[in-house]
């Protein structure tokens, strides 16, 4: 048997060069994404653990929201922003490292009381789990879960913290990691389940501002936030 000799063809080469240039252009596009920061953080760098929903943040201040399906939070669902799954029979369940709520147009120059009913997928045989609550990036308290029972949290948000983002109050529940990443590359985290929520503006001058964040206002640099365990 003899190997057939192949005659090189110029049009093959010309096409190869064209495709090469085309592929270099595509490579440039790959290396220079033109995306929003939240997309970049979640999908490309994977630094964020949730991708924000487009929500209005509409919230009638001072009114309770229930996240249990069939109640008003389910129908409105306008403040569930990032890191919480859709409302169901057990409320809204967090995934990833944190869950965020967004409440539009907070009343100005007012302190707030945040009240919520929550529970987590833990029990008394597991180590205690701390959930850090922050508002507009400032820590306002810590919820400590030691059992599977419901925890009713009640935290104060001073006016100066609310004033950091006057257009919308951003409330973040940062949950601890409980295990290494699985096959999906996502770390295992405590699952916080919010059943109901209330943000009540306090009358002017009526704040019981005893949180670490409030102390920062009065005394200057921020001290460590006071641990505030909810009652089970």
């Amino acid at each position: 048997m003899t190997v057939a000799r192949f005659k090189p063809r110029l049009w093959h080469l010309a096409l190869v060069v064209l495709i090469g240039v085309f592929e270099l252009g595509v490579l440039w596009l790959v290396l220079h994404p033109r995306v929003a920061q939240d997309y970049y953080d979640y999908y490309i760098s994977r630094e964020a653990s949730c991708f924000p929903r487009i929500v209005s943040g509409y919230y009638p201040w001072g009114k309770p929201v229930s996240f249990v399906s069939g109640r008003n939070g389910y129908q409105r669902d306008s403040i569930r922003w990032c890191g919480f799954q859709a409302p169901n029979a057990t409320g809204i369940r967090s995934f990833g490292d944190y869950g965020r709520l967004k409440l539009a147009n907070p009343p100005k120059d007012r302190d707030f009381v945040l009240s919520f009913s929550s529970w987590a997928n833990t029990d008394q045989n597991k180590p205690k789990r701390d959930v850090r609550v922050s508002v507009n990036g400032e820590d306002v308290g810590i919820l400590t879960f030691t059992t599977a029972k419901r925890l009713n949290g009640r935290l104060i948000v001073p006016a100066w913290v609310a004033a950091l983002k006057p257009e919308a109050m951003e409330i973040q529940f940062t949950v601890p990691r409980t295990g290494p990443a699985g096959t999906n590359g996502e770390p295992q985290t405590l699952q916080l389940r919010l059943e109901s929520f209330l943000a009540q503006p306090l009358p002017v001058g009526d704040a019981t501002t005893d949180t670490g964040a409030a102390q920062k206002l009065r005394r200057g640099p921020a001290p460590p936030p006071r641990v505030r365990s909810g009652r089970a």
Binding site: T2, F6, C50
Partner: protein, 394 residues
């Protein structure tokens, strides 16, 4: 010209013209039998006679995504699934474009037209694959039987890309076998626009060319010495990623991210990791973590599917089909490196794996005759499992 010679030739040509070879008729017959059988089972189970209801029942999971893609194109900002981070950017465009075009040409709905298209593409893929069986008709029969009457026939009956991917893979390998590398590259172009694993056809072209060189009596070293002169091979390999690149450009214009089809996989819990670590985890998690020794979990089923795909790739290499082997092995390892979900479907969508399995299954007559009823029974039994949206078959 001597008429005494010419007349028999003409007569023979006429006979040939009107005789459709068995390898063409077989997939058509099996396809029709399969559709009728599953429809009858559906009617028996549900009491519904509507054929479009039956097609709708078959259209589960990704079928809906391909249907929506054909109807509405690519979606905007991700908002799907529980985490609100999914949309249809993960789904490659060629199949849905074909469904859309069929809809425009015939007026058939996306569901009906897409289902018919999927069936016909599978028939076409089966016919095209015939040279790859090297005249082993029993193996070819088993392959066709598996496609149309086997436990995974659902993939080829509804809007999934498996039918198109198998057709293009078979076409590519037939071209490669014939030494028509540029056309093999064109098949690769469409493969990479159908599924990301289509990119793996590029190394298969090089390996196929090397095998052809050895088959023609060439020395291994000569192949590499003359490689720089093989402009047809260069063009063939260069053509393969073009399909995927066009999709990437579209996504860049649509979303700003050329690799959006990769990044959006986070919504499906997919991230690149050690494929063998993922395989080990899926094979052992039900025993070591969940202490389940009484049933087969989806993790285990997916792991076993990956093992079968790897084993059959090894069998291809053992039989000297290195182009098939490398393509198949990496077509298993690539999705496996993200996680094991849907491995059954991914393995069944690799044509050389099915062909090698059919060749092995048909080598012993008793096994061949055992497999036929077994496949048929599984096909019938798994229909409610499929329409019930079971993760096993996904």
């Amino acid at each position: 010209m001597d008429d005494s010679f010419a007349e028999p030739r003409i007569a023979a040509a006429k006979r040939w013209t009107w005789r459709i070879p068995a390898y063409i008729l077989l997939p058509f017959y099996l396809m029709l039998i399969g559709v009728a059988l599953r429809y009858a089972v559906y009617v028996r189970l549900t009491g519904h006679w509507g054929f479009s209801d039956y097609l709708r029942a078959l259209c589960v999971y990704d079928c809906n995504a391909y249907e929506r893609l054909a109807l509405n194109g690519y979606e905007g900002r991700p908002s799907g699934f529980d985490k609100g981070d999914a949309n249809n950017w993960a789904f490659f465009p060629v199949f849905s474009i074909m469904v859309w075009a069929l809809n425009r040409l015939t007026g058939l709905s996306m569901l009906v037209g897409g289902s018919i298209l999927s069936l016909l593409l599978t028939v076409w893929g089966a016919i095209i694959s015939w040279p790859l069986f090297e005249r082993k008709f029993r193996a070819y029969f088993l392959f066709c039987f598996f496609l149309f009457l086997g436990p995974f026939s659902y993939y080829f009956n509804t809007l999934y890309t498996e039918s198109l991917f198998i057709l293009l893979t078979c076409a590519g390998f037939v071209m490669l076998r014939r030494g028509d590398y540029v056309m093999a590259g064109v098949a690769g172009l469409f493969l990479s626009a159908t599924r990301s694993t289509g990119l793996l056809f590029a190394p298969a072209i090089l390996i196929g060319a090397f095998q052809n060189h050895l088959r023609d009596g060439g020395r291994p070293l000569d192949f590499f010495k003359t490689l720089w002169k093989r402009t047809d091979l260069m063009l063939a390999v260069a053509l393969v990623p073009v399909g995927l690149s066009i999709f990437a450009i579209y996504l860049y214009l649509h979303s700003g991210d050329a690799l959006a089809f990769v990044h959006i996989q986070r919504a499906w819990g997919r991230t690149f990791q050690n494929p063998f670590g993922n395989l080990w985890q899926s094979l052992t998690v039900q025993f070591l973590t969940n202490k389940n020794y009484s049933s087969i979990s989806t993790d285990l089923a997916f792991g076993l599917a990956a093992v079968a795909g790897i084993a059959l790739s090894a069998a291809m290499a053992w039989r000297g089909k290195w182009d098939w082997a490398i393509f198949s092995l990496f077509a298993v390892l690539l999705p496996l490196s993200t996680n094991t979900y849907s491995m059954l479907r991914f393995v069944v969508g690799i044509a050389p794996v099915l062909i090698m399995a059919a060749v092995l299954g048909a080598e012993r007559k008793w096994l061949f005759y055992l497999l036929l009823p077994a496949l048929l029974i599984l096909d019938v039994m798994l229909l409610p499992t499929w329409t019930g949206r079971s993760y096993y078959l996904m």
